[in-house]
Amino acid sequence: MFKKVLIANRGEIAVRIVRACRELGIDTVAVYSEADRQALHVRYADEAYLLGPAPSRESYLRADKIIDIARQCGADAVHPGYGFLAERDDFAAACADAGIAFIGPKASSIAAMGDKAEARATVIKAGVPVVPGTEDVGNMSDEELLSKASLIGFPLLIKATAGGGGKGMREVESQEEMPALLQSARREAESSFGDGNVYLEKLIEGARHIEFQIMADTHGNVIHLGERECSLQRRHQKLLEEAPSSALDDELREKMGTVAVKAAHAVDYVNAGTIEFLLDKDNNFYFLEMNTRLQVEHPVTEMVTGIDIVKEQIRVARGRTLSYKQEDVRFNGHAIECRINAEDPYNNFMPSTGRITHSLLPTGPGVRVDTGVYPGFEITPFYDPMIAKLIVWGETRAQAILRMRRALEEYRVVGVMTNIPFHQTLMDSHRFMGGQYDTRFVEERFSMQEAGENGEKNDEIAAILATLVAHRETELSATIVNRNERDTSNWKWVGRWERMHR
């Protein structure tokens, strides 16, 4: 087994990887930016090295520095997590050149799947169905794209060639609005991936986003661990994922799983990866893209299969054969993951920054929380707003939903706004309970306000609470007029009073 693994990431996923290494008896090396000195992955790791200033370009994207550190500290492998350098084939190659194992696919597979246009071409050859769109390999001018658009037909999607996570993605209703949207798409793609290339894809309406988890070893074995339902998105950002999907039956699952495995074979894939499909109302499915890395939502698959995906990643990266054959993979119960973001659900999901002053995690049976934050930690504007993943397991989907409700109600975070109320409202929505939703549901058919109407209202209690707090504050502020008369007990009050105003 590896002796020492460097984790080229931050936040909850870095912590997740530290845990997997610990449980395999492997030493861990954290890297961190100036903003993350107190981050949990730094606190938990055996070694920690500073990369540079807070902005990603000067820290977590500094491939060169990271490889130097790995060399100097004698790490024999690097785990990239997701985001940052996870899908940069040049980084994977550089690790290999430095004689350091990259815990992920071969550089060539990342390149093949990383360029979305090339990926489409590759899987089409392998006989995998894709969404109609521009088949040409990247680099198209606005003019070319505008002309192609009419052939594909509207509505359509502009997507970043180097893209992922909806960045640089725009939806186009008509020829007229397309030029402006091309601009903003290229701009976002440029700032996110340093590559402004985009391509077009027909928009499948009423579609679900279904993805399959792939595990492959270096001996040619490729299996899938079933699907994840990821249709609940906002601005192409996933908000909630489930396994299994209420849209699939065993037959369709096997059919799509087989195609997913075929797509992975097409780029002779190794390690963990995810094949994303669009599934339309008539159960036609189209290859969307492959994420050549560990996925944010991998825990829902772990909960229903009992397989530790990160540990398995490390094993196969070491050259071991997969611990499971396809027939060993059994699905048990239902799992749901809510992404807890530092953002204000009552103000257009505006990101929220600040210091977490208090937090109470939901625990108990069937509840798992993956997080990189804790009370006293500062949420900065430099990285993505996800501060935790709340995952629950239940014998049935209904039980999982009831458990998630219970867990969300227990979860307390003070210091930043979170989208917990959004998830609570979602849990109460009848369409979600019925499993009847597509990728448009959140944006087009869900509103915090309307949905709220279903839940019981409690104006009077709210009035009483606000009045009591207002009253108390008036009294407190009164007690601190004369500073000189303060004694210790007063300071405590003041401290509290100041916190209340943070």
Partner: protein, 165 residues
């Protein structure tokens, strides 16, 4: 002490009788009200019903987060109430509006120019933070006044970006 408390248009007259009792619209309740962990998290037991809430100050009101629902609440004592009534009351729609940065970030684009007429809801600035591009919209119709930042500039939280007159 008597307060006039308003929740989404609904008005309550709340009187703090003593540590353990309050009176709401003439009905008296036994209460047990405590702060938890010295945080703005409050535990309230009213006639046996246990409630826990995160209560914090909004710009001009109180925000009460209770069982996954946010209640905007205004609390005024009788004096304040009278004063506002005298002042003609109601929230003032006119006057200059200053667009402030809701969080630290990078100004990506400013799709408007000084003096330009704008509509309520129109995007007037794009701010990038946490790797997301956030579109800041006009709160009402008006004209763009002074623009204090330019694209590419990093801004602090609450920094004034531009004004709408």
């Amino acid at each position: 002490m008597k307060y006039i408390t308003t929740v989404e248009g609904r008005q309550f007259v709340v009187e703090i009788v003593d540590e353990k009792h309050i009176n709401v619209d003439g009905k008296t309740y036994e209460i047990d009200f405590e702060t938890v962990s010295g945080q703005p998290v409050y535990s309230l037991i009213v006639d046996g019903r246990s409630h826990e809430s995160y209560v914090y100050q909004g710009d001009d009101n109180w925000q009460v987060l209770l069982r996954g629902r946010l209640y905007p609440v205004t609390v005024e004592d009788e004096r304040e109430k009278r004063l506002r009534a005298a002042a003609g009351g109601g929230v003032v729609q006119a006057g200059e509006f200053h667009l402030r940065a809701p969080m630290p970030g990078l100004v990506v684009a400013i799709p408007v120019t000084e003096g330009q007429e704008i509509r309520k809801g129109q995007v007037i600035l794009i701010l990038e933070s946490m790797k997301m591009q956030n579109e800041l919209k006009a709160p009402r119709d008006g004209t763009i006044g002074r623009i204090r930042v330019k694209a590419g500039e990093s801004v602090e939280q609450k920094q004034t970006l531009l004004s709408v007159v």
